[in-house]
Amino acid sequence: MSESEIIKPSKVDPKFRYEVAKMPGGEKLLQCFQCGTCTSDCPIARFNDKYRPRSIIHMAQIGLKDRILDSEFLWLCASCFTCTDRCPQGVEVASVIRVLKNMAAEEGHIPQVFKDLLANLIRTGYVYEIPESRIRRREALGLPPLPKGNSESILKTIQDLKIVKIISK
C-alpha cells in the first residue's frame, strides 16, 4: 500500500478489524500505532519488498479485507515472532498475521504446500511423507521403530473443523 494511495470507501470493510480482534492472537490489533518496529526488525522484509508487517496491520485496521486475504504476501511470514516480542504496544503481530492467514484459508486461499501437509497428517500422523526406506533404515541405525499415527483416530478428532472440511472437499 503506497503512502499516497486513495482508498475507495467501497473497498473497505469497516467491521473487519473487530472480526480480527475477536480471534485468539488478534486481540491487540487496535493498539498498533504504526511505529514500524515490526517491519524494521523483520527478517523477511529485508529480502522481500512485498512483505511489510506494519502495512498488513494497517490494512487490517482500515478494513482492506479482500486485498489482504487474496494476497500472496500474507504467506511469507516466517513465524519467527521477532515482531511479537519487540512490539512496544504488545500487539502479537505474528499472531494477527496468523489470524489473517486462517481467514484467507477459510475463504479457500490455501497454498498447495499446506494442503499436502494436511493430507499427509491425516494419512500418517506426520506432515511429511516419510519414505519407507527411511523407516526401514532406522533398525540398521540402532533406532527404535518409528511411532505410528492412528489415522482413523486423528481424522475422527479433527473432521468437524471447518478447515478440514474445506480442504477435504
Binding site: 523477511i44 529480502f47 522481500n48 521477532t82 533406532l143 479433527i158 473443523l161
Partner: protein, 299 residues
C-alpha cells in the same frame, strides 16, 4: 507429574523425515546421562506447520499429544524447539482458557482422550540445563574440546514468543552458549546471532530463505568459527543441507560444518564418532571429528 529422569520422547516430523543424525546423537548422550526415554505409543504432528491454516486445528493436534502423554503419566521431551514451543503454548493457552479447553476436549473425547493440563514439556536444552545441570554435564566430559572455536544458532522457537515460553532470553540467548562452553569449546560471538534461519518460508519462497542462510553463514565465517552448532532440526537443515544450494546460487564458498549440539557433546563425552550420526551430515565434519579424536581422554 511423572518420574524425574524419565520422559516420553516426542520426535516430531522433521527429524524422522530428514534429520536422523540429531536423533541418533541425542539418544546416545541422553543414555550416557541416564535419562530414560519412552516412545510415544501413537503420534501426530504437534500442529505448528499447520498453524497458518487453522489455530483450532493446531491446538487440537497439540492437545492430542499432551493428552496421550497425560494418559501415559509422563512428561514430554522434544528435540525440536518448534514442537516444544507449540506444545507449551497449547498447554498454557488451554489451561488459561476454559471455553477453548472445553471445545478441544469435546473433539479429543471422540478418540477417548482428555487434556487436563498436568504434563510439562521440555526441549532437550532445557532438560540439560535444568534437570541434568551444568555441573553434572561438565563431569560427563572426558575430552574437553579446548581450542575449538564454534558459533551457536539457538533458533527462534526455543524462546519466542517470550510471553508463552519463558525460557532463555530471545534477545541475548545464553543457554546454547553455556551448553557449548560446558564441552570446553569456545563459543564465539558474531553479528546477528538471533537472525531466523528462514526454514518456514522454504517452499514458499526459496530465494528469501536461502538469502537468510547466506547471511548467517557469512557472519559465522567472519567470526572465524570452524563450525556452527544448532539444536533445531529445521535450522540444521537450512544451514547444512542447503549450504551447497547457497554456494551455487551466490557463487561463494563457505564449507562450514553444521553440528547438532548433541554431536558436539557426544564427542566431548568420548562417544565414538561413528555412533553420533556424522555420516548423515552434508557438509563434511571430518576436521571437527579429527580434532576431537586427537584429544586425550582424561581418566
Amino acid at each position: 507429574m511423572g518420574e524425574a529422569g524419565k520422559y516420553i520422547l516426542f520426535l516430531g516430523c522433521t527429524i524422522p523425515y530428514r534429520v536422523s543424525s540429531y536423533e541418533i546423537s541425542a539418544r546416545k548422550v541422553l543414555q550416557k546421562l541416564s535419562v530414560e526415554l519412552v516412545e510415544m505409543p501413537e503420534f501426530n504432528c504437534c500442529g505448528l506447520p499447520l498453524e497458518p491454516l487453522s489455530h483450532e486445528l493446531t491446538l487440537t493436534l497439540s492437545a492430542r499429544n499432551l493428552a496421550i502423554a497425560e494418559r501415559e503419566g509422563l512428561n514430554i521431551l522434544t528435540l525440536c524447539p518448534g514442537c516444544a514451543g507449540m506444545l507449551k503454548k497449547t498447554s498454557k493457552t488451554l489451561r488459561e482458557d476454559k471455553s477453548l479447553r472445553e471445545d478441544v476436549n469435546k473433539r479429543l473425547r471422540e478418540s477417548g482422550l482428555e487434556f487436563k493440563g498436568s504434563v510439562s514439556v521440555k526441549h532437550i536444552s532445557q532438560l540439560l540445563v535444568e534437570d541434568v545441570g551444568l555441573d553434572r554435564l561438565k563431569k560427563s566430559i572426558i575430552k574437553p574440546l579446548r581450542g575449538l572455536r564454534v558459533a551457536e544458532h539457538s533458533g527462534c522457537h526455543i524462546s519466542r514468543p517470550k510471553k508463552y515460553l519463558e525460557f532463555d532470553d530471545p534477545e541475548n540467548p545464553r543457554v546454547l552458549k553455556m551448553l557449548i562452553e560446558a564441552t570446553g569449546a569456545k563459543c564465539v560471538d558474531y553479528m546477528d546471532e538471533t537472525e531466523c534461519c528462514g526454514a518456514t518460508v522454504a517452499g514458499i519462497d526459496d530465494k528469501i530463505s536461502l538469502s537468510l542462510v547466506r547471511e548467517k553463514l557469512s557472519h559465522v565465517k567472519s567470526a572465524n568459527a570452524v563450525a556452527l552448532i544448532t539444536m533445531c532440526p529445521s535450522c540444521h537443515l537450512m544451514y547444512d543441507a542447503n549450504q551447497i544450494r547457497v554456494e551455487r546460487m551466490f557463487k561463494e564458498t563457505y564449507n562450514i560444518p553444521v553440528l547438532h549440539y548433541t554431536q558436539l557433546l557426544g564427542l566431548a563425552m568420548g562417544i565414538p564418532p561413528e555412533e553420533l550420526g556424522f555420516d548423515d551430515l552434508r557438509v563434511n565434519p571430518s576436521r571437527i571429528v579429527k580434532y576431537a579424536m586427537e584429544i586425550k581422554a582424561r581418566v
